[in-house]
Symmetry: C2
Subunit: 243 residues, 2 copies
Amino acid sequence: MIPKDHPRYRSLVARERLARCAREGIVAPEGLAAHGRGEAFDYLIGERTTESAALAERTAAAMLLAARHAVISVNGNTAALAAAEIAALQRASGADAEVNLFHRTEERIERITRLLTEHGVRVLTGTPERIVPLSHDRALCLPQGIGDADVVLVPLEDGDRCAALREMGKTVITVDLNPLSRTARTATLTIVDEVTRAIPAITAACSTLEAGEAERLVASLDNTYLLRAAIDEMRERLAHALE
Amino acid sequence: MIPKDHPRYRSLVARERLARCAREGIVAPEGLAAHGRGEAFDYLIGERTTESAALAERTAAAMLLAARHAVISVNGNTAALAAAEIAALQRASGADAEVNLFHRTEERIERITRLLTEHGVRVLTGTPERIVPLSHDRALCLPQGIGDADVVLVPLEDGDRCAALREMGKTVITVDLNPLSRTARTATLTIVDEVTRAIPAITAACSTLEAGEAERLVASLDNTYLLRAAIDEMRERLAHALE
């Protein structure tokens, strides 16, 4: 058991949960390595929501609420870490949720769908089709889900799929702790924050945003500024790391 | 298959090998997450051996060669990534090799020992005793191995054990891509480099070092300088990341 007053309690609990979900087949081994990469960058922003990330989260809420059809794309890591948080965001935003995996097997889709459903997420079901312009199973999504969406929230996405969704003309919101990743640089809006902090922040903003603010946030979105702000945080923390 | 001309070929091959070894029980799930953290920091030093890391590697060779009894402590990740490289370092330096695991089970010890032996490593065997001042199984090591060593090379070590070995008066050389980690800051000498680049570099230095240079390197060791140099590399790379 990790003591609750441990300075890195949340981070260590997340790591344990992910390792457990890997043993249960919900998280792929590659998902554990990806989580580790995220941890390193999270450490560099101080394991907290920075000011620029908070701005990105309010902007994400504005985009989800303004969407014709918003879909949250959920992978194994996101389900393992934030199933209850996704359910709350779905209630606040009205977005659909679709399970979409890089390491796709029917068994993993079923396990993740069950986990999400147990936490109160309404998960889209149906027959996936090859819609996204990618090779192999990464092309698969639901025609009435991501296929129809104008806005897709894809936490912890792979770079190829993020680029392909953008090429399809979709607005892509991602949550990615690495501001240098291809996903971070390709998405319409990148939230450089840890997923269990980011999702509740978007949910909270959904109910506090005023109409005027929402329009202003979307109109003034500058993703390069958001990435630059995250990088500056990391540089600053590195500068003082040995003090 | 990852194409050999992919700019991140080595990194992607290492990730695949580790995921495979996780499925075989050689690498613990927590080891995959730890590898991911390393990947993030490796990305920030440009996935290459920096000048300061090369200096650290030559210094490590000098320390191994000057030791009364040098032991290489090998965990699951190191075995999965660098079994052949450990064998070559053992031949060049005369060091012993001992398997020492954070997530210790007899089965994992056996699998890792077998993997190392297949790659030509002579692995110390015997009955471990509680020698390192730590709780649980992390106290275990071989009395004729790490217990007797004056110099221990521990790639990818956990912070508690690194500190405990230092408190026992041992010289600890670590390979850790995170210059901010407790291990990096507690070790006598920290090599901020990826393990499959670091180990062959130490091996090469073992046969090219001249006696005078070896003494100079050990006498002028300044680990804070080495950590600071790695951090400066990362800051510099972050500064130009979006160009």
